[in-house]
């Protein structure tokens, strides 16, 4: 009996090794995994430049910094110009779906997706090459009924909902700017209308959980007797998840601990906006924020959070003004620094405030996501405009 148990354990260990080893990402892949914008400095920018240089006709430059073999970590004018050329070259896939006709130079999810498809050499292949990973009780989920874990996004642009909102916000800013310049009275009719998302993720019962934990989602547009996909970034998705009246409940699948952009999609291809969700291992100590400096922050200032549980990379700071992603902590995981430049106050920062007008003082609450989980909300600083 004990002998059989030992054999089973050994077999299980061998199977585990086969399942986990292939999950490593190909080191030579030129995969851009974060959004990038002019002024960024990171190794991801170098990957972006290499990817652009690998596409005929899109080389940043033929000599000096940025040329093939001399890629840098700085997103400057050459990179931006090449990104715009790329976006316009593949406008049908990158710009048209979000209602744009001209390249923006911003490397968002759609640009990344197309770039990654091209540099991968074949479209539609998931970023990681993994064996089937859902293994409750040691078996792979392959049944046709009930939720099934699959790799990749299943052909869905997981970030389409986010891009729709971003595009709307860009439209608002450009509309207001042009209306100001027109020197005429602005009316409510001049303000672009926001089109309701077919699927709208209003909230989740929890923001983190370990494998097997139940998570509830409040989603408008979800109906009973229909099934949906729950996406974990574009790396995994749970297919065949039943919906209820405006809600979906799922169990955290067996996927590696990390923060995932979770979204819901339906069979028509409609996809909700994403929300961060942290899949944690059972023995995590969690994240704790104890301080934030400085206490008064202006647009573009650097903020340093002190605490514990920050991971070396892939920390996300979620503020009331949006998410700041791909943050690295200091060596011992006690400090996290980010630049605070919310889009909502960019115009106010550019034009300043009226004469003899008191400053806007807005308390900013934030929390940190990473593979250790999610911190409590922390009242970090006051934004002064």
């Amino acid at each position: 009996m004990i002998h059989n148990q030992g054999k089973k354990t050994l077999l299980w260990m061998i199977l585990s090794v086969f399942v986990y080893i292939p999950t490593a990402t190909h080191a030579e892949d030129l995969q851009v995994t974060t959004n990038l914008v002019s002024g960024d400095r990171s190794e991801e920018v170098r990957v972006l430049q290499k990817a652009l240089n690998a596409i005929p006709g899109l080389q940043l430059t033929t000599f000096g910094p940025g040329s093939p073999g001399n890629e840098t970590n700085f997103f400057g004018a050459l990179t931006r110009r090449a990104v715009i050329s790329f976006q316009e070259m593949y406008a049908k896939d990158v710009l048209a779906p979000i209602g744009l006709t001209r390249g923006t130079g911003y490397v968002g999810p759609m640009t990344r997706q197309k770039l990654n498809e091209l540099t991968r050499g074949q479209a539609g292949v998931p970023r990681t090459t993994t064996a089937p990973v859902s293994r409750e009780n040691g078996s792979t989920q392959t049944q046709n009924t009930g939720p099934v874990l699959r790799e990749g996004s299943g052909g869905v642009n997981v970030y389409a909902g986010d891009e729709g909102l971003e595009s709307y916000q860009d439209n608002i800013v450009s509309t207001i700017r042009s209306l100001f310049r027109s020197s005429r009275d602005i009316t409510v009719d001049d303000i672009p209308e926001f089109t309701q998302d077919e699927l709208s993720l209003r909230g989740m019962t929890v923001s983190f959980g370990s494998v097997g934990a139940s998570v509830g989602m409040s989603v408008t547009g979800v109906a009973p007797n229909q099934t949906y996909r729950i996406h974990f970034g574009d790396t995994y998705h749970l297919a065949n998840v039943p919906g209820d009246a405006q809600s979906i409940v799922f169990k955290v699948p067996s996927i590696p601990p990390a923060v995932y952009d979770v979204a819901v999609s339906n069979s028509d291809g409609a996809v909700s906006r994403t929300r961060p969700f942290s899949v944690v291992s059972a023995n995590t100590d969690g994240i704790r924020i104890t301080d934030a400096r400085p206490k008064e922050v202006e647009y573009g200032d650097e903020v340093t959070l002190t605490g514990s549980g920050f991971t070396p990379a892939d920390n996300i700071v979620e503020t009331a003004f949006g998410r700041i992603t791909n943050l690295e902590s200091n060596r011992d995981g006690t400090e996290l620094t980010f630049t605070f430049k919310p889009k909502q106050v960019s115009m106010a920062a550019q034009f300043g405030r009226g004469p003899d007008t008191d400053p806007h003082e807005t308390p900013i609450t934030l929390r940190v996501f990473n593979a250790n989980g999610v911190s409590d909300f922390f009242e970090a600083f006051t934004l002064v405009i």
Binding site: I186, V188, D190, R273, G322, G354, D358
Partner: protein
């Protein structure tokens, strides 16, 4: 006579209770002069000539363009007017938001969000 009054009182009381049980949603808690709204906050920016007001756009199902006095929210989660949250509340159909652009320029609003507003977590 006393029994008759008692009978009438009981009958009235029963009718009242039955009405409240049968039609609980017909009661409207709207304050006169206010209009309900609700939806996701899809844009907000500070009114830089008229602090502490913010200019807020709320999406469908019952959205609009509003001004909102920062910190006036009376119900949880006290995070108005931040993008991504869902808000539900009342507004009054008057208001203003002035934004500094060489001069103070008025941004149009359909009304001002009252403190009677609640919002979702991020």
């Amino acid at each position: 006579m006393m029994y008759r009054n008692l009978y009438v009182s009981r009958l009235l009381c029963t009718v009242c209770v039955a009405t409240m049980v049968a039609f609980p949603f017909s009661v409207r808690a709207q304050i006169p002069g206010t209009i309900p709204f609700g939806g996701p906050v899809v844009w907000s920016m500070p009114c830089t000539c008229s602090p502490p007001l913010w200019w807020v756009i709320v999406g469908p199902p019952r959205g609009g363009v509003f001004s909102y006095a920062l910190g006036s929210q009376a119900f949880r989660n006290y995070n108005m007017p931040l993008i991504g949250i869902w808000a539900l509340g009342l507004y009054v159909p008057v208001g203003t938001c002035w934004f500094w652009f060489i001069i103070c320029v008025p941004l149009p609003v359909q009304g001002t969000i009252t403190p009677v507003v609640g919002s979702s977590l991020l």
